[in-house]
Assembly symmetry: C2
Homo-oligomer: 519 residues x 2
């Protein structure tokens, strides 16, 4: 940082600082980062003993930290002390091996190192020219992952025969992947339906199973679709809560018959609620009748498809338009990293391209490069490809498959434990590493919605709340087919089988306190 400001007012504030401020001094960076690494080491060593869900009340932090920003600088040790003493006690510890809620945010040494280096380089890769290696490494990492997933080459940036029309981009969230593909599909549908500007938007319809993540319905609203035209197709136990293609066809046909324009179908592989799987190929066949865009949301379970034994869940993917999956969920890559693949990148860039003068350059004009800003919402973008590449480069397909299989094996162990106790039931088939279970209703069929069900809901809520209050486990719930169900999601990266067994012991004991012993 350069010379001092000669403005007297500014000078006054410099009086105490004889040395110029160098925020990126290499020795300071090393010193701060070593302190941060020590923190991370201690954190991973101790996180198991911390309450997974903290017992803090809303507003707790405001009472611990000053409400106004400091006017003068402080040693970094003070910052770290406040982190340890005020922030850590209020964290929900996603890294804890006793975390079983939502989906785990898996992580690895290679990913964190990659993120650190990306933060330090701090490039903004909006165009190829602005960061050639960042753009190309992202593209390469996406192509590697496509090969691990055995995606058709039509989704790859580069194949043995050169550049195709397909490609990918790393985004922050699945929601963004949905949004940008919805917008591309919307614009295509407006064009083919002869809309005058956006006037025809009122006729465009979109489709997804009722188990689809709520963020899909939100993305539709963001893109301007009419809430009345967002179809949520009911599912049931008959399809294990997967989308029924016959029902989809019926609804789409009715809309088409009514003069509406079926535009987009979202199919999910591994729903958030219960890990249900929509049949991609059959969905694509139905959608093709209406020229509707098909997107596959495989945010969580996509990672499992790097193992041959799970790959069948993606059968038919060669007939969809786009697919997204998030290595930040189950492929050991810290947040955020959602990979979106499309079969025809021009359909995306046609809706998302911008070309301001200050970003023009020869490489972009040559048409030989991909400017990744044209496949996302924003312009700026982090160097996310580095960590994803580092994960695959360091661990290789073998270790990554081992990681998936180990999690699934632990989930199977938990499932077997649940099945071995008559007080419980597994509510839907376990597809991946999520077990949906509950205390069975007493004195009646498990499917009845009578008094037995109300009591069961009460008991299961009670179980969840007591468990979470112990700080020794954290799990979340869902509702499937009207039933309140506990979700036990295996796979937090520090987790080992003994954590799963300990959690089960705690669940059994707590259940005994609530409903009594197993008969």
């Amino acid at each position: 940082m350069g010379s001092l400001d000669t403005n007297p007012a500014a000078y006054a504030s410099f009086a105490a600082d004889v040395d110029a401020f160098r925020p990126l001094d290499a020795d300071d960076v090393r010193s701060y980062l070593h302190k941060a690494v020590d923190f991370v080491y201690d954190y991973y060593k101790s996180v198991e003993s911390l309450p997974v869900l903290p017992g803090v009340e809303p507003g707790y932090l405001m009472r611990l930290l000053q409400s106004a920003p400091p006017s003068s600088s402080a040693p970094f040790d003070i910052t770290m002390k406040e982190l340890r003493e005020a922030v850590v006690p209020g964290m929900t510890h996603w890294a804890s091996p006793n975390f079983f809620a939502f989906f785990p945010s898996t992580n690895s040494a290679a990913a964190i190192a990659g993120e650190l280096i990306a933060s330090a380089m701090n490039t903004v890769g909006f165009t190829w020219q602005a960061a050639p290696a960042a753009t190309e490494l992202e593209v390469l990492a996406l192509d590697w992952l496509a090969q691990l997933l055995r995606l058709p080459t039509s989704f790859m940036n580069r194949t043995a025969s050169g550049r195709g029309t397909g490609g990918g981009v790393i985004l922050g969230t699945t929601s963004e992947a949905m949004l940008v593909t919805l917008v591309a599909a919307r614009d295509a549908a407006l064009r083919r339906s002869g809309s005058n500007g956006v006037a025809g938007i009122t006729r465009l319809t979109v489709y997804a199973a009722d188990q689809t993540h709520s963020t899909f319905f939100k993305a539709c609203r963001l893109a301007g679709f009419d809430p009345a035209n967002i179809r949520s197709i009911p599912t049931g136990a008959d399809t294990d809560y997967g989308l029924d293609p016959a029902k989809l066809l019926e609804v789409m046909q009715a809309d088409a018959d009514a003069g509406l324009v079926p535009t987009y179908v979202c199919a999910t592989v591994g729903t958030t609620s219960s890990n249900a799987v929509d049949p991609i190929g059959a969905v694509a066949d139905v959608a093709a009748r209406f020229t509707a865009w098909v997107h596959v949301d495989a945010a969580y379970a996509g990672s499992a498809c790097i193992c041959p034994e799970f790959r069948h869940h993606l059968d038919g993917v060669e007939r969809v338009d786009s697919i997204s999956m998030s290595p930040h969920k189950w492929l050991l890559t810290c947040l955020d990293c959602t990979c979106l693949y499309v079969r025809d990148t021009h359909r995306l860039t046609g809706s998302l391209e911008t070309n301001p003068e200050y970003l023009k350059n020869h490489a972009s004009e040559s048409g030989e490069v991909t400017d990744l800003k044209d496949m996302q919402v924003g312009v700026g973008r982090r160097f996310r490809g580095l960590k994803l590449w580092m994960v695959m480069r360091t661990y290789g397909a073998g270790k990554l498959q081992e990681h998936i299989r180990s999690d699934v094996a632990m989930a199977r162990t938990f499932e077997d434990l649940v099945r071995g106790d008559d007080r419980f039931e597994v509510v839907v088939p376990r597809n991946f590493a999520l077990v949906c279970f509950r205390i069975r209703p007493r004195g009646g069929g498990g499917d009845a919605m009578g008094g037995g069900e109300a009591a069961a809901e009460k008991a299961n809520r009670e179980l969840m709340e007591r468990l979470n209050k112990t700080g020794k486990a954290y799990l979340a719930h869902t509702v499937i087919g009207g039933r309140f169900v506990l979700r036990f999601a295996v796979g937090s990266s520090l987790q080992e089988e003994h954590h799963v067994r300990s959690a089960w012991e705690l669940i059994k004991k707590t259940t005994t306190d609530i409903v009594g012993e197993d008969k």
Copy 2:
């Protein structure tokens, strides 16, 4: 990671790995991170000597790295070696002190440390309960920054008198801030204009100066606005390319008279092209006549407003609906960190809220907490508040102001150097740390668009390309009032005054090669 899978197919792949794979083993994490820290240290020590803009051709990386993912694991040193040998030579070095392009992505030791710790904790703070401390620290950091900016308390989450209706959220990009506020404004305009569903969207109009970042026009299209209803208000030298409120009024009034619904105005403080400043207060007064939402994009220059001498650029902000600024640009916080403040959070959450069963919890239902997922596009979110808080906590207002003033002083130095050489002209007044200059047209007035202008454009393009090819400086261009102009953006965090002076020497010498000596 737990027990081995007993499935024989899976077992086969484990045969070579007797030890279970532990991707987050604390010792491995420490070891990998120490290697990464060493890399970062060496990088900052050496980046000055690397070509700022690499001389690589499209596809270079594909030729250096294998095209298929490795099947087995490798020592992390191999990954680091490939990073050093294949990736670094293809990077555009935004961290170089010789980087003068676009806007600098400023950074600091505290920010990188914060990002590292956030990556390791890897929390997903969609709801308060999912990460109480992450939510509260983000809210606190935003309130601190609001105080540094002297924003009215109506934009703060907490004030001395408790929780108000305003608040903020950290997003990834300015584009997302524009998009979510556009959607909120769109929905409000549809409601107040009595639209049947989204049918009324064809009547909604949005406004911005022609200098507004192209991502605004893209965000409008993402949100479903009709391209024909997106008004780009011409600007000129008379307002230094800032938005003229009288012209805005004229266009909005004409639309209203034609039965259209003026919905949203985007004002910019510090445009990307030339750092023009739209007059916020006057724009707000015009927009108020039509109940249109006013958003202020202060992505770059907002940071300067922590200094009293620059704060006047935000005068009138108390009358706008939302403002966003990006500490990842000029407040020493590595990517990504865009702070969005709104005066009424309910107007945002009304359009963005989702409430899936699996995220329901007592804290959310109490209404006492902010679930930040309801103020952004996606659900998942990184713990971005940590690095922003660490920057303010460690450096304090004093050092941050010193940082801004030092950059501005260096830009002033450069400006003086340009003004001291008759071959050049400064094209628009320098408001912050960006100097827009060019080689003057010869043999005629600088404003003439005749042959002198064409030759000047050629000379300036030549100058830029020659400079960038040296690897000793990187700067970008823009077009202002039809003139091709070079942008010299000061402030890369390793930059000192001698780098600015060296760049100027290089510019002078190269210009001499192109157009001859100063007379």
